[in-house]
């Protein structure tokens, strides 16, 4: 018995449903039928009922277990353990009251399958729908519906079918299609672990059979690799020199020698060793808490998502569209700073727009509501302070989900359904690909920096037409050159008729592509270690974002000439005194330690 038992799978199941629809009765039945109660418990509760002249109910078993603090194996209503010949189960009894929504969410998110209990007599309640909605949102794919108290409707097939029709329509609208409905009487034990003699019209599974046929999801292993950096360890004790990147593999497999990419930083390296306490491994797979070392000495931070070079990579963006369920006492409002936690990333964000708020009772949407109340679900547009690496929730669920923290409390959960800035995200993906395929030089940027006596830097000089950009650029180039700096000035024109000869340059039509190519050229030139000056007419924030994506961690400095600004510049000048302006730029280069 021992060996066989040890290898049994374990499954967490949540029972959800409206108050008094009979969750405890069904669970009590299951515990009795699978012989999972502590010795004497059933007899004890039966005797208590007899002494108090009330009929015995299976739900009392759970109540008794709940109260039980001092003797017997305590099985609290929040979690019960039991096992069958096939596997081990942890049953989570999620509270039905709306006030305990966060407990329901906490319990349900630990489960991989769910039973929703609906009273045959009372029918589908708002909570039945809200729970269904939340279970779907939490990512639970296997849901069975137990239509309970069939004894109260004389085991009527018509009544059962009515509820089945009503509720499946609802679940289907949430894209949960693989659901079965079981007519049950928890009180009499019909279809719990025994086939009901009272409902010969039903030939499906019993609750216990349904339980045993839930599947354990293994598809996470046959997937592209994804893992969050949980921490980076450098323990110096006992002469340990390893710098270990630690985390739990969410999807796929990682092996020694794999080339990997960190998002959103875009850094890349190769796996040198997989570290395990007292054991060496060649590869690791989803579900394992692991650690590994790299060939390169990179500064990696907690929060980055790792993917493999030859597989797909996460999306990186500052804007998301998400469904949020809100549990906070204070309403979720537009324009306030909140914290988002996704995987091990953490960033500040604001709600830019509330697209609609969901009415779970009627499954209708309210497009005019501009805040989200406690226990409501809504679709929102989020703007993040920092670039986030993530996925759309149906592809890699673990990276498409986040929680919202407000005033130190977890107040909501969200799933990402889209992102509006596809252009910039696509650009980032291209840049990542470029980085992954970059051919490394034998001379490092540190070596160049030491030889030239300055760091590389991009100086963008912008302003309206006629603001004197080119004049200042040339003066600055001359001054830096005469103080032995490696410097080069390049105007937009140098690019437009050469690199960009294949695209039109009239109007604004291809502006983004012109900027992108210019920034790629800048990136190449910056790799050579020089100080690069470029002039661009009326540069915009979105243009700068392209530059930042493409040139990555190179220094960038923006100078704006004129009184009306179209972007955030490091230096802004109203005056047209060229010498003064170039001196100020040199001062800033010095204060940022780019030149001495």
């Amino acid at each position: 018995m021992g060996e066989k038992l040890k290898n049994k799978d374990s499954l967490q199941i949540v029972f959800a449903g409206h108050v008094d629809h009979g969750k405890s009765t069904i669970i009590g039945r299951l515990l009795v039928d699978t012989d999972s109660l502590p010795t004497g418990k059933l007899e004890f509760v039966k005797k208590m009922c007899q002494n108090n002249s009330k009929p015995f109910e299976y739900a009392f078993l759970l109540d008794a277990l709940k109260e039980e603090q001092s003797q017997g194996i305590t099985i609290d209503s929040s979690r019960c353990f039991f096992e069958t010949d096939k596997r081990r189960y942890i049953i989570i009894d999620a509270p039905g009251h709306i006030e305990f929504l966060r407990n329901m969410v906490t319990g349900a998110s630990r489960a991989s399958a769910a039973f929703i209990v609906i009273d045959a007599h009372e029918g589908v309640m708002e909570n039945s729908k809200r729970h269904g909605y939340l279970l779907a949102m939490l990512g639970i794919k296997q849901i069975n519906v137990l239509v309970n108290k069939m004894d109260l409707v004389s085991f009527s097939e018509t009544d059962f079918l009515k509820i089945k029709e009503n509720y499946s329509e609802f679940l289907n609208s949430l894209s949960i299609s693989d659901i079965s409905f079981i007519p049950v009487s928890g009180f009499y034990g019909d279809n719990v672990s025994q086939k009901s003699l009272n409902m010969s019209w039903y030939d499906g599974k019993t609750v216990l059979e349904a339980l045993e046929s839930f599947e354990i999801n293994d598809e996470v292993i046959d997937s592209d690799f994804r893992m969050s950096v949980q921490d980076v360890y450098k323990f110096t004790g006992k002469g340990d020199e390893r710098r270990i990147i630690a985390g739990m593999v969410d999807y796929g497999m990682l092996s020694v020698g794999d080339e990997i990419l960190f998002s959103p930083s875009g850094k890349k390296s190769k796996v040198k060793s997989i570290e395990n306490f007292e054991r060496e491994e060649y590869s690791v797979k989803a579900g394992y808490s692991v650690g590994f070392t790299l060939y390169d000495q990179l500064y990696i931070k907690r929060g980055e998502i790792i993917s493999k070079k030859n597989e797909t990579h996460p999306i990186c963006s500052k804007k998301l569209i998400a469904n949020i369920f809100w549990m906070g006492k204070e309403r979720l409002v537009i324009g306030k700073d909140y914290i988002l936690k996704l995987g091990t990333q953490k960033t500040v964000f604001q709600i830019e727009e509330i697209l609609f708020v969901m009415n779970t009772a009627e499954l209708s949407t309210d497009q005019y509501k501009k805040e989200i109340d406690q226990n409501e679900i809504g679709r929102v547009v989020l703007v993040l302070k920092n670039i986030l690496a993530f996925e759309i929730s149906d592809k890699f669920p673990n990276f498409g989900r986040f929680v919202v923290v407000d005033d130190y409390e977890i107040c909501g959960g969200g799933i990402i359904i889209d992102y509006p800035d596809k252009e910039i995200s696509q650009l980032r993906e291209n840049v990542n690909l470029r980085n992954l395929n970059w051919i490394n030089n034998s001379v490092s940027s540190e070596m160049r920096c030491e030889k030239y006596g300055h760091k590389s830097c991009l100086i963008i000089i912008s302003g309206k037409k006629g603001s004197g950009r080119k004049k200042i650029a040339r003066l600055l180039e001359t001054e830096l050159f005469s103080s032995d700096k490696i410097v080069f000035y390049m105007g937009m024109g140098n690019i437009v008729y050469g690199v960009d000869a294949d695209i039109k340059c009239s109007g604004n039509e291809n502006r983004k592509e012109h900027i992108r190519r210019l920034s790629e050229v800048c990136n190449l030139m910056l790799q050579t270690g020089l100080i690069l000056i470029v002039t661009i007419q009326e540069i915009e924030c979105s243009d700068l974002e392209i530059f930042d994506q493409v040139i990555g961690e190179h220094n960038r400095l923006t100078v704006w000439l004129g009184s009306e600004y179209s972007c955030n510049a490091d230096l802004k000048f109203d005056v047209s005194n060229s010498e003064y302006i170039s001196d100020e730029i040199i001062n800033l280069l010095q204060s940022r330690s780019i030149i001495n």
Partner: protein, 293 residues
């Protein structure tokens, strides 16, 4: 993935989250099987290192073998070991074994109060000096604000309601009805100053899982858990006057597993040998609301 590996990897994830998010973290080591498993998981999580101190609350009424085991492992593994006690109550003999107070009050004084004062740094702490191999009074009295504990939800009612990351207020009180939500591997890690935190990486383990894991990983445990020839063994360890051995002839881990799987203990509670749980109806929940482990 097999069940034990699943539990192991999840617990390691929680340990690493705790270490990454909190300063002044400690792990409470009761010398029992659960917290010894926790110690092993810590060494796995941190690749052979134990990057925070271990704290033991010495009631001075522990079974002597437990203290011997503590100090032996401390020296062997190079553990940064700290212990504390309620010296005042011990000096005034305000204890149940001295016959002066009830079991519950004794637990409050020797465990809860001692724990609070050891964590806050108000009580004297003793730290192992690995050079002299002796405990010395610790001059560092900075408070520990995050405590990792080896409690399991199958032990008793109030523990089954716990979160993995469980906040306590300044007085160490637990607000059972107002706990933070935890989902999608996201725990409450943002705290107002003054909040204490308890981290429970073993919440999903059962007594049987613990023994199976001890067997699989060959983890050393106190020999009190085994029948050493008298037909008795301890199923759960605590203070000598309040913890009774059970009748059993299980001589090794394999015997214990059989006993729990299909033998005489498969349906009898683990803590049934503990007298303090039996007093006051819900003794443990009352104690835990006020800061007991």
């Amino acid at each position: 993935m097999d069940h034990l590996s699943e539990l192991e990897n999840k617990s390691i994830f929680i340990l690493r989250e705790a270490y990454s998010q909190f300063k002044n973290l400690v792990m409470l080591w009761s010398i029992g099987k659960d917290s010894t498993v926790l110690l092993w998981l810590t060494r796995k999580a941190f690749f052979g290192h134990i990057p925070f101190p271990l704290v033991h609350i010495d009631t001075n009424h522990k079974i002597p073998e437990m203290i011997e085991f503590r100090d032996k492992l401390t020296l062997e593994l190079g553990i940064n070991m700290v212990y504390g006690e309620n010296s005042e109550a011990l000096l005034k003999k305000e204890t149940f074994p001295d016959g002066n107070i009830s079991r519950i009050d004794c637990c409050k004084k020797l465990k809860t109060e001692a724990l609070k004062n050891t964590l806050s740094g108000k009580g004297i702490r003793y730290r192992m000096n690995h050079q002299s191999k002796k405990y010395e009074i610790d001059n560092d009295n900075e408070p520990f604000t995050g405590i990792i504990l080896g409690i399991r939800s199958d032990e008793e009612g109030s523990r089954s309601k716990e979160r993995y990351f469980s906040p306590r207020d300044k007085e160490n009180d637990w607000h059972i009805e107002n706990q933070p939500p935890e989902f999608w591997n996201q725990f409450k890690t943002d705290f107002k100053p003054g909040t204490h935190l308890r981290i429970h990486p073993l919440l999903d383990w059962t007594e049987l899982d613990i023994w199976r894991y001890i067997e699989r990983e060959s983890i050393p445990v106190v020999s009190l858990y085994f029948d050493n020839g008298f037909g008795k063994r301890y199923r759960s360890l605590g203070c000598a006057p309040c913890t009774k051995p059970v009748d059993s002839d299980a001589k090794n881990v394999g015997d214990i597993i059989l006993e729990l799987e299909s033998g005489k203990f498969s349906k009898i509670a683990e803590r049934s040998g503990r007298d303090q749980d039996k007093e006051d109806g819900g003794g443990l929940e009352t104690l835990r609301r006020e800061g007991y482990m």
